[in-house]
């Protein structure tokens, strides 16, 4: 961690790190403690703007919006985490193998990746959800698969670049096996490119989940997430109560801003 800070001593990285740490920290805290029970209704405080008792106001049922946002953000971050995990792990394995060994398989797989990445990821995920149905697990699987090609391309390009360097040829001359070279000699050197990609992955995953659930083709109707709350809050705007939508949107925007600043900072040295 100290090394990361020394290497990326720029404002993007610092601001992104602080913002992400604060947001994730607050959301994690929300998993064990929220100011109110997210589902507790209170008829005396229906649809209020922000007050001291309810910092972000309440919805039509008198439920505390802050508590609900914490719960929803937890679900959204959980989905994003597993999506990035699936995308990064499978993408790295595929990118490493195709980049290192090359050949016909590499050529074919990269053409497929090109075709997939040409399509907006939300659109692909929408279509896939149309086929297999909504739900948290399905969203994770679908988005995870949609994210694999972009990671695979990045890792492949790095492997192609690094395998031509002298120290790899030397390692090979000394009789080091292919898999050991990939794991010990190349993989650690892909980290400077992989880390920003992971941060951007979180950014895109939060955005995709929010968009899909907002459209009603993400998590199922009984589950919470920031996207579902955003679609609920639509009705409030039309009745002149914009707070709900603004706070939910702001939460999503701050999460995304944190990850994107972090990615920008990780890409810049100094």
């Amino acid at each position: 961690m100290k090394k990361l800070f020394a290497k990326h001593n720029n404002w993007f990285f610092k601001a992104g790190f602080i913002l992400t740490a604060v947001m994730v920290g607050v959301v994690l805290l929300g998993q064990i403690w929220t100011p109110y029970d997210p589902n507790a209704m209170d008829a005396s405080v229906k649809a209020q703007g922000p007050t001291l008792r309810h910092l972000l106001g309440t919805d039509f049922f008198g439920r505390d919006i802050l508590s609900r946002i914490l719960e929803g953000a937890g679900a959204t971050l959980q989905i994003a985490f597993f999506v990035v995990l699936i995308g990064a792990v499978f993408g790295t394995v595929i990118g490493a193998l195709t980049g290192y060994f090359g050949g016909v398989v590499d050529e074919v797989l990269m053409r497929i990746c090109d075709a997939i990445t040409a399509f907006p990821s939300v659109l692909l995920a929408l279509i896939a959800i149309a086929v297999i149905g909504p739900g948290r697990l399905n969203v994770i699987m679908v988005l995870g698969c949609v994210f694999i090609p972009s990671f695979a391309r990045i890792v492949r390009a790095e492997f192609v670049r690094i395998k031509r360097l002298n120290y790899i040829s030397l390692a090979r001359l000394q009789g080091v096996g292919d898999f050991r070279i990939m794991l010990k000699h190349i993989l650690p050197n892909t980290l400077p490119t992989l880390l920003p990609a992971i941060s951007i992955g979180f950014n895109n995953a939060v955005l995709a989940e929010a968009s899909m659930s907002f459209l009603g083709v993400g998590v199922s109707a009984s589950e919470v997430s920031l996207g579902r709350m955003l679609s609920d809050s639509q009705n409030y705007i039309l009745r002149g109560l914009p707070w709900y939508a603004v706070f939910v949107g702001l939460t999503i925007a701050l999460l995304i801003l944190g990850f994107s600043l972090l990615a920008e900072g990780l890409q810049q040295r100094r």
Partner: protein, 311 residues
């Protein structure tokens, strides 16, 4: 000309493969007959409907039949409403295309001047302010911009009534006023990204040897930028703009929902929820054609700008 034809051939083959994959995937969703008639239907009724929808033929036969009709412009019949898909999509497609082109035009109009200005005044206060605000704005999702615009211009300033779309035939002026806000919502985040890219691309070009040669021949920064660096600096932006045009269409699906626009995106979502497969297939194919075509144009323009890419 040859590279255009080659790209065109690749485009058609990709579309053909995509169309088969999409068709086959939706066939796996399940039996539409059971979904339309419910669980209490008699076997005779199910057989009759299957006959009517042409489902008793094999998958390849149905696929080629569908493809043949699609190419001729007949997109099939909705399972749910039993009317032609062409009729259902008709005007809705026009609205989405207008929104996408409107948003894309705004992105072009705003991002290129901002990027060039920022690069020309590198290091100035305006440049630094723009860089910081671009970094923040590009991370704001289009739907949050939409919410903010609705709250500011719809709820507080009452420039338009949120949720009450005015069609072009009712009043062209109010139609464009209403469409301005959704178009701005998709355009603003993309403008920030494009302006940022253009700035760093121009600054990268200005450091190159050929620009220094231009300086030595008596060009000043401004004329060297206009005569030499700008064309090369635009190259990476073209690919980004192609992606933007593709992403914007997907972004419009969400934006249509927020602004209650009767576009193709809302129809897609409704059809997915209704399991109205012919409509979903038709829209997916239209979107695929759009995505492939904008990337095609992006590549052709890139190659026109830089002949080295043609190999």
């Amino acid at each position: 000309m040859k590279f255009v034809l080659k790209k065109l051939a690749t485009l058609l083959i990709t579309l053909l493969i995509l169309s088969f994959l999409a068709y086959a995937a939706f066939e796996m969703v399940g039996d539409p007959v059971g979904m339309i008639l419910g669980t209490n239907a008699t076997p005779e009724a199910e057989a009759a409907l299957r006959e009517e929808l042409g489902l008793n033929r094999s998958l390849p036969v149905r696929y080629f039949d569908w493809l043949f009709h699609f190419v001729k412009g007949d997109m099939g019949t909705s399972y749910i409403y039993r009317i032609s898909v062409n009729e259902m999509i008709g005007e809705k497609l026009g609205l989405t295309v207008i929104l996408t082109l409107f948003g894309f035009g705004l992105t072009l109009l705003m991002s290129i001047p901002l990027g060039v200005y920022s690069a020309r005044r590198e290091g100035s206060f305006a440049d630094r302010a723009l860089t910081v605000s671009n970094q923040i704005v590009m991370a704001i999702p289009a739907f949050f911009v939409a919410i903010l615009l609705t709250v500011i211009f719809g709820v507080l300033l009452r420039l338009f009534t949120p949720g009450s779309f005015v069609s072009f035939n009712e009043s062209p002026g109010r139609f464009f006023l209403y469409m301005l806000f959704p178009a701005l919502s998709v355009a603003i985040p993309r403008t920030a990204m494009a302006a940022k890219m253009l700035r760093s691309s121009i600054l990268g070009e200005m450091q190159k040897d050929y620009v220094r040669t231009a300086f030595s021949r008596g060009h000043n920064r401004r004329s060297a930028l206009r005569a030499h660096a700008l064309k090369n600096a635009l190259l990476p932006i073209v690919a980004f703009l192609a992606t933007t045009a593709a992403e914007m269409l997907a972004g419009c699906i969400v934006i249509e929902q927020i602004f209650s626009l009767p576009g193709i995106g809302r129809l897609l979502i409704a059809s997915i929820n209704n399991r109205d497969i012919p409509v979903v297939e038709a829209i997916v194919m239209i979107l695929a054609v759009w995505v492939m075509v904008v990337h095609f144009f992006g590549e052709v323009i890139s190659e026109a700008l830089d002949p080295r890419l043609r190999s």
